[in-house]
């Protein structure tokens, strides 16, 4: 990595900073002392600004940053409208989690240096996954993000957290095996690791090999992108981890993997229609099964995990359709889901700090003790369900209007069914939060727990404002989303930018 740094112009704002800066700051962590959390927040806010600045520069075409030798032989970063949009989203999300941890996390394991380093590495890995232009570096970044995620999930170091971390490690290793195998096979058959070059050469390799590589990638990435049936591990991990970590997994890591999956599909395949349809079915099944299963969950974190799976299914359903409007809506929903899930997981963190456990019974009537948190939970759930006037409604409407315009109605039916199931459990939880509790229960309110300062709520309020704002004025994001959708679907443009020839 240091070599990469030396070769790139250090002082100009280029995409490499999005990866290098977190790595650098993480490696220099002993220097920061008490200033760790403000730094984490500040760095990511800076990266967010940088991503937005870069985003403004890629309106006409992608920014290719050569690191070693010019592509297709060397290593390069491929920053276009869609990857930078996601980088912006993810850095913003990490910044908000950092702010939340800075203000709110009093538990010792969040005060440690490991937590700081791991979040930095996670962020670097995810940004790398989004920006890299070749398959091998993709694998490397997946590993960086993966390892930091396993450790984050085990950070609390009690039995539940260690179990979750170990399980996460196992499943991550399995996923890595699949991806690595696919990478090797691709290199053997096409002789290149550059994504654009693979995109040009992929059609020429034997059909059976195509299917094998495709399936290996599907399983490998599907595990990390939480698609059914490869998502069976998710509830266990989310339940064992702290909600703050789960917020990062659901809001940041999964989104990066979703992007990788669809970027590969749209870049490599000349005609993504067939694969797209299968991914749509996969997404639909993921959504319905997850929403259905969530109905019976009695633990807040598990419930949020299943809800997360459902939303990922919905996004997959939309992106798989490979049509600009629907994909733009899908990307919008991806943004909204990140915002809403961050909000919900952070509220869950607040609630868990006050309740004995995340179980339904322990949280009954919590609204009386945490009125603002409960209110924000309502807001987040409304957006998650797609109820106006919140952002989730606009993105769902956008997706469904796209489907309706194309005359395809089964996804609409599935989405509405999913939303109804989702409503059934989200509203049950809300009803529980507002249930009046008998007096003796209130009297035994645990004393001495860290009280949430009002500062801890401001990241939550920022999220709430964004959810309302995007719900009222989706036009704010419309140009960026439309451009991102076009770029994501524009295979020949992406290949041409790297290879210099149209496929």
């Amino acid at each position: 990595m240091d070599q990469i740094l030396l070769q790139s112009p250090l002082l100009t704002p280029t995409p490499i900073w999005l990866i290098a800066l977190p790595l650098l700051v993480a490696f220099l962590s002993p220097l920061w002392g008490r200033a760790r959390w403000p730094l984490l927040f500040g760095v990511h806010l800076g990266l967010f600004a940088l991503a937005l600045w870069l985003l403004a520069g890629v309106q006409d075409g992608p920014l290719i940053e050569t690191l070693v030798i010019a592509p297709p032989l060397g290593i390069h970063l491929h920053a276009d409208a869609v990857s930078l949009l996601l980088v912006a989203l993810l850095t913003f999300a990490v910044a908000l989690v950092a702010a939340f941890l800075w203000q709110g996390a009093r538990a010792p394991h969040w005060q440690s240096r490991q937590a700081f380093v791991l979040i930095m590495l996670l962020s670097a890995g995810c940004n790398g996954m989004l920006l890299t232009g070749d398959l091998f570096n993709l694998y490397v970044f997946i590993e960086i993000a993966g390892v930091s995620a396993y450790l984050l999930s085990a950070l609390r170091r009690d039995a539940a957290a260690l179990e979750a971390g170990l399980k996460y490690l196992i499943i991550g290793a399995v996923s890595a095996v699949f991806i690595l195998f696919a990478t090797v096979l691709t290199y053997i058959t096409t002789g290149t690791l550059n994504l654009a070059a693979i995109g040009m050469a992929f059609a020429d390799i034997p059909a059976a090999m195509q299917i094998l590589i495709g399936l290996l990638l599907l399983v490998g990435l599907g595990i990390k992108a939480e698609l059914f049936p490869f998502n069976v591990w998710v509830p266990e991990i989310y339940r064992g981890s702290d909600p703050e970590a789960s917020a990062l997994f659901s809001g940041v890591v999964v989104k990066a993997f979703l992007f990788v999956l669809f970027n590969l599909v749209f870049l490599i395949l000349a005609d993504p229609a067939v694969v797209g349809r299968w991914l749509m079915i996969l997404g639909g099944v993921t959504m319905v099964i997850a929403e259905l299963t969530a109905l019976r969950q009695r633990d807040l974190r598990r419930m949020l995990a299943y809800s997360s799976l459902g939303q990922v299914g919905l996004i997959t359903l939309a992106l798989g359709f490979a049509e600009t409007t629907v994909v733009a809506g899908g990307l919008f929903h991806l943004v909204n889901h990140t915002l809403a899930k961050l909000l919900l997981f952070m509220v869950a963190a607040l609630m868990l700090s006050r309740a004995s456990s995340g179980h339904l019974d322990a949280l009954t009537g919590i609204a009386r003790r945490l009125p603002l948190a409960a209110g924000l939970f309502v807001l987040g759930s409304l957006s998650m369900l797609g109820l106006p006037p919140l952002a989730g409604f606009m993105s769902k409407l956008w997706i469904m209007a796209g489907f309706a315009e194309a005359g395809v109605f089964w996804p609409i039916a599935l989405i509405l069914l999913g939303a109804l199931l989702e409503a059934a459990y989200f509203f049950r939880w809300i009803a529980l939060f507002y249930r009046p509790v008998p007096a003796p229960r209130l009297a035994s309110d645990p004393v001495g727990l860290p009280t949430a300062s009002s500062a801890v709520t401001w990241p939550l309020l920022v999220l709430a404002v964004l959810l309302i704002g995007f719900g009222l004025a989706p036009v704010l994001l419309e140009p960026a989303l439309n451009l991102a959708a076009e770029v994501l679907l524009d295979r020949s443009g992406a290949i041409e930018a790297v290879m210099g020839v149209r496929p």
Partner: protein, 591 residues
């Protein structure tokens, strides 16, 4: 902060009135993809906006009491905004946004009540969201056909397209109105919601379903013509809708008679009254639509009045069952008059306006020559007398049946002021029944129907004849005054009975501890009538709870798909991978 919130909420609550008086020009708000939200006042919306403008401030008064929590008024303000939004919307997305804001804010109002149980909360939100999602599916269908969300006439639909869209929209609005068998969420939620909230649910929120149903007349102008049946003298779709409405009102009326809880009874009565409105919309034509609008207006006033009166009783006595009250006429006289005026209007007795709206519906049915429907409407209308009597007898007359009823005081002013205003409005509207049709006439014109155009506000005129409200009121009033005066001119004196137990009681003298209140008995013997016994023994709740149970069981099955042991995860991945690979290779071809 508290004061600021209250003042702000109150300002929002009066916005419908401001909009109604002072709206000029449309408002446009950009959405994505070139679509826009636009807001304007159409004649139809204006009528319902008037209901909102009258109802919202009156319903807000009881919420201003110190005993009521702050969030109630704030959420109510949100609810009013939602309803106003859906009325003003000129496109289906705006309508849906308002509809949903209304749905979830009203749910939050209900769910924060200490009496609401989990089942009620779930049924309220699931029924209403089902309605909303059907609506959403319908509006997406419209979008796929026209490429626009605007509320406009859909022409040249094929039969299948028309049928699907009509069913989607129709089912959505019928759930909101609460027609059978989709009414289950209403009685329990009206019963368990906080008292001031029930007022809003019954008087205002339910009317939005009526508005939606009328909107369908604009959306599907060809529907009646398409399914015209000569032998029916009218459209088949309308005939079906009318029967749905009337069966709803009959069953709801019988259920209402059998209730022993005041708010539950009123909830069923509310379902029944909206059944008439549905019937009237089904009949269609100038008389039918005008009857539907008129009845919606009257029901808004009546349910405001009755629910507020009963809210006052519950607040003062803490009792909500008929058996536990009695004799309040001496302790709560203003509330008594409120309920009296309310039930006279509810029962549709002249000279109050409940009769005017029913008269229009009757005449519409006669014009359409749907005589069997007419008889069915009469059945529920006559049966309604029974529960109306129960409403006035059990709390106010008879013998006090609980300690609270013996010491209750008159309800506080926040309950009485709206009651007095509403009584005045009802009597005024009864005297000038033409006012209602005058309000409905612009809507008729907008729907392309001939307005009724009464000669004066005092007259309700139809092509089949009408009546003069002023004369009627004067004749009755003078007769009443003269009879009373003459009675006093007769020789002899009036002696007040010695005690409440000084009764002609089968040769015995009852003691104060003897239960002499007949509230529970009322309606019990009805079960012996075969038809009513049959209806009361049935319920669709079994179907829906069965459905919920099925889904839960399905969820249990699906949760087995998520094991907790890592080796089973890996095993499943490998198996799925192998199966897919085999299948892909056998199928042949690349990606």
């Amino acid at each position: 902060m508290r004061l600021f919130l209250r003042v702000l909420s109150l300002m929002v609550v009066v916005t419908p009135a401001v909009t109604w008086f002072a709206w000029d020009g449309a408002l446009v708000w950009p959405l994505f993809g070139g679509a826009t939200l636009s807001f304007d006042v159409t004649p139809l919306a204006s009528f319902f906006l008037l209901l909102l403008a009258m109802g919202a401030p009156l319903a807000a008064l009881p919420m201003l009491r110190k005993e009521e929590p702050d969030w109630q008024l704030a959420l109510f303000a949100l609810l009013v905004l939602g309803m106003q939004g859906l009325l003003l919307a000129q496109d289906l997305v705006g309508f849906f946004i308002g509809w949903e804001i209304m749905t979830w804010s009203s749910w939050l109002l209900i769910v924060r009540s200490p009496r609401t149980d989990a089942g009620t909360a779930a049924s309220y939100i699931l029924f209403n969201l089902s309605a909303a999602f059907l609506l959403l599916a319908g509006l997406l269908g419209v979008y796929s056909l026209t490429g626009s969300f605007a509320i406009q006439a859909l022409v040249d639909l094929t039969l299948a397209q028309g049928l699907v869209l009509v069913l989607l929209f129709g089912a959505a609005f019928l759930i909101k109105i609460g027609t059978l068998p989709l009414h289950l969420w209403i009685p329990r939620s009206y019963d368990q919601a906080p008292e001031p909230v029930t007022v809003v649910l019954s008087a205002l929120v339910s009317k939005m379903g009526v508005y939606g149903l009328l909107l369908m007349l604009i959306l599907f102008p060809e529907m009646p013509g398409r399914w015209f049946g000569d032998w029916l003298n009218g459209p088949l779709s309308g005939y079906g809708l009318a029967w749905i409405g009337v069966i709803t009102s009959i069953v709801a009326t019988f259920k209402a008679i059998a209730q022993d809880d005041m708010k539950r009874l009123l909830a069923y009565s509310s379902i029944g009254q909206l059944g008439y409105v549905t019937t009237a919309i089904g009949v269609g034509g100038a008389l039918g639509i005008s009857g539907a609008l008129y009845h919606a207006l009257v029901h808004t006033l009546v349910s405001l009045l009755l629910f507020i009166s009963f809210a006052g009783i519950i607040a003062q006595t803490g009792q909500r069952r008929f058996n536990d009250l009695g004799e309040l006429i001496y302790r709560m006289p203003i509330s008594f008059f409120g309920v009296l005026i309310g039930i006279i209007a509810l029962a549709g007795m002249p000279p109050l306006p409940g009769f005017a709206s029913k008269f229009l519906i009757f005449v519409a049915l006669i014009e359409a020559q749907w005589i069997l429907l007419f008889a069915a409407v009469i059945l529920s209308s006559a049966a309604a007398f029974l529960y109306c009597y129960k409403l006035i007898y059990a709390p106010f007359l008879g013998q006090a049946n609980s300690p609270e009823a013996r010491v209750a005081r008159e309800a506080p002013w926040p309950y009485l002021i709206p009651q007095i205003i509403l009584m005045g409005m009802l009597v005024g509207l009864g005297m000038f029944p033409g006012m209602g049709t005058a309000l409905a006439d612009p809507v008729l014109a907008a729907l392309g129907l001939a307005p009724l155009d009464g000669p004066s506000l005092g007259t309700l005129a139809t092509p089949y004849g009408g009546y003069d409200g002023v004369t009627l009121m004067l004749v009755f009033g003078i007769a009443f005054a003269l009879v009373t005066a003459l009675f006093y001119m007769l020789r002899g004196q009036l002696r007040r009975a010695g005690s409440r137990q000084d009764l002609s009681f089968a040769g015995e003298v009852p003691t104060p501890d003897q239960p002499l209140h007949y509230g529970a008995g009322m309606g019990r013997e009805l079960r012996r009538i075969p038809l009513i016994g049959w209806i009361l023994a049935r319920s669709s709740s079994g179907f829906f709870s069965g459905l919920a149970e099925r889904v839960e069981r399905l969820a249990e099955h699906s949760s087995r798909l998520y094991p907790s042991q890592p080796w089973r995860w890996v095993q499943s991945f490998v198996v799925v991978f192998a199966v897919l690979l085999t299948w892909g290779l056998v199928r042949g071809g690349g990606l």
